[in-house]
Subunit: 539 residues, 2 copies
Amino acid sequence: MADQRETAALKVQHLVLEAGDDLGRRHDALLAIDAEDIEALLHAQFSGQSDSVAIGLGASPGAAVGQVCFSADDAVEAFDAGADVILVKDETSPADVHGMAIAEGILTTRGGLASHAAVVARGWGKPAVCGVEAISLGADQFTIGDHIVRVGDVISIDGASGEVFLGAVDRGDGAPEDDVPDELGILLGWADDVRAGTLAVRANADNADDALRARSFGAEGIGLCRTEHQFLGERLPLIRQFIVADSPDDEAKALDALAAVQRQDFLALFEAMDGLPVTVRLLDPPLHEFLPDTEGLAVSAATGDLASDDHVLLDAGRKWQETNPMLGTRGVRLGILRQGLYQMQVEAILWAAVERRRAGGQPIVEVMVPLIVDRSELDLVRKWIDDEITAANRLVADPLDVLVGTMVETPRAALLAGEIADASDFFSFGTNDLTQMTFGFSRDDVESKIVPEYLRLDLLVANPFESLDTSGVGALVRSAVENGRARRPDLKLGVCGEHGGDPASIDFFASVGLDYVSCSPFRVPVARLAAAQAVLRQS
Amino acid sequence: MADQRETAALKVQHLVLEAGDDLGRRHDALLAIDAEDIEALLHAQFSGQSDSVAIGLGASPGAAVGQVCFSADDAVEAFDAGADVILVKDETSPADVHGMAIAEGILTTRGGLASHAAVVARGWGKPAVCGVEAISLGADQFTIGDHIVRVGDVISIDGASGEVFLGAVDRGDGAPEDDVPDELGILLGWADDVRAGTLAVRANADNADDALRARSFGAEGIGLCRTEHQFLGERLPLIRQFIVADSPDDEAKALDALAAVQRQDFLALFEAMDGLPVTVRLLDPPLHEFLPDTEGLAVSAATGDLASDDHVLLDAGRKWQETNPMLGTRGVRLGILRQGLYQMQVEAILWAAVERRRAGGQPIVEVMVPLIVDRSELDLVRKWIDDEITAANRLVADPLDVLVGTMVETPRAALLAGEIADASDFFSFGTNDLTQMTFGFSRDDVESKIVPEYLRLDLLVANPFESLDTSGVGALVRSAVENGRARRPDLKLGVCGEHGGDPASIDFFASVGLDYVSCSPFRVPVARLAAAQAVLRQS
């Protein structure tokens, strides 16, 4: 709570004062501070005392108070009427982001630290508590034990501890941003000096606003731009048009509409990060993530409430429905099945790079192919990308600064990293997916149900989605680094999973020799410190 | 077609005659025959000519002709009325097995070679064609292109080629079993001599009937008894009672009822395989596989057609619904979450072993724990098993012959095989799941959609669910064998995925030094030959 914030502020001020100009003492100061101190300074905390009624996963730190809403649309309506809102859902999907964007905080009953709600909230620095299984959610109320909470009732959530409180709990005065001691900036400057030339820190950001914020936190590039986030909100109809297109003509029209918005997205992003590298990941999630829930539509169809447009969506939903979507038609597989999609994205990326260059900017672009299992997939897609690069380079005086690389996020890609490096300028380890597949742990399913029980029984030493499993997943990362670099010594290596912001994991990534970590913008200060600590500990 | 059968018979007769008593020529004969020849002799084939209207995955060889039925219940009704039936479904589940059991053949529109329909059909030697995406299935008819096929219409399917024909295509006279040349037995006897002391061949079988059939095909044990198959058909209400139990009392009652049937299952199985090892896998699939489809129930609920009992099932279905069930609450995770289940199964297994011993039999039991990711899980479960073994051994004069081991089917278990071997008497590689997780390929989703396209584009050299991916999945198997045996030289090693019946994969398993392969009973003759060929090639 707020005490922690005050304690952290005093600690940082004291350490900086003590260290003065002495390099050894500065290093000691860096080792004496920890991630929790920085989190406490950067996020709102509750100052009041209250008893929590439930506890879930602290998915994105910060303290939020607001009226409960159960749908994104209701949340927007309440927000427009002036209310602070906590959006409560079983789980969120891309269709909910407009409601998440205006919410003070997000609460879900299912899903873990790598669920949609958690990842999006962390990206925005918005408090979130996930996987509160004790909550039973109805249409316009939820129950926790004996308590009933209705639409419009006020609750408070602590995204660090995972606690849920009834009513409004006091927060300290003022936004935390206004209240960060200058000494934190000094300390992080020392951290940057220590890690210079070793582990760089980038951020995961999907648009210009997030990129600028990341830059203000000290990010040295974008390690992951998730292009699927550009198809949400008002863009959702465009991607749906593409999904349901049943002729080459309709598909081309839908792709043109998507290209128009993508070009502007990339242009703004490259401008915000001018002079710094931006890794753009081609579309990754399965298409049904952009479609409404089929069960809901099926129920509407059975009761005669389904609009005719929605029949098309129901058919599309069924067509793209999968038993295990995480292991299904997504990433490069989708790119290969519907080839126009990646070609459109690559064209838009290079259009934006050319435009930036013409405007006197310095775009540095890294195009990243997700989910490959074999070099052959990368060879195929790389050919399309290289063709676009060649075409774009005809439009500029000096060749564009573009790398083409791949995620290493399936165990097979890690096992065959040597071969894959022959076709790749860089690897970015997607340690979320790599953890899912190495353990056979669906993050949406096991993190709230299995992992807590395993931790309680000492079957796991830590939640592997929070802190990298160095003995299993780490073994794959280490061998991929060794085999990749053996084949291609200049191979650029980074990590863009959630682990990129976790101090223990950063220590491991430094030890195996990665070039950078990439994490949520709000996690960048923590990563800068942790990277310096890793250097100090390993030197 | 039938020509192939005749050609194969002549070939086998000729090779045996030619070889005579000469050992070198016998070995040449073994290398000259191949799996297709044996399949052709053991399964029915079409002799008539016809044009197929669609093609899917040849999921279980053989030729079937029958009237189309769209539900298991309708299939049973038509069968009782004297009809030959082809069961057509989008996909099958444990709830359909009574209909599958009486069907001549099975046709599915979704799912691949390792889908429920394919695995069950192969186990029974019943023709099946899976993943025929060109078929659009309605409630009482399906369409292929311009053709409409209604309930009761006759179709023919070729489970080897994956072809679907309208109407009845001619098959040769008589059942294939009656028509297998004696020379095949002679040849397989030579194969057994060659592979003696190297790679043993076991079968996957779940009940005494299948076990006896496997034994008649030459199986030297059961490498995989899937205990979930014992909870199907009329037993389904028992496992559902367990799933929905909401008090310790109700749960105990449900477990007692399950224990009663499990004891008899194991007793019969151990009797059928007396003197040979039987590997019993503790419950593996997620619980919702035993529950009806929630979407169907939700639609019934919305239209007011849901019985009150079904409300309980809908709630249970929702509770156990998972985003990616393949990576969710199954295997040892479920065993740990609901501890009574495994304890009940282990108690029943040992009860049956004691009974067999008392009856003068020689039960050889291997208890297998599925889906582990860490030694700690095995330590926990092994303690329960060891306690039951100790208790059982008090009831017999000489200690029972029981081993306790684990599946190696997650990449993490393979990576940490050395540690896990310390707690395990044997490993059985579950190469289906290991392939799914290493590639991030859900067999239900990618095998009909992605894999054919990848094969067409030369992105894959073979379907990795048919023939083991030696460079990726094989690398994990090889290192697990080396690390496991280094820690425990007497570690028993086998494989029980579908690859256990694939000649190319058997060659690989022999080369890394496995002790046995286990496959569908009907695949045992092929595996006996392939194992001998591997020995001959590698010597």
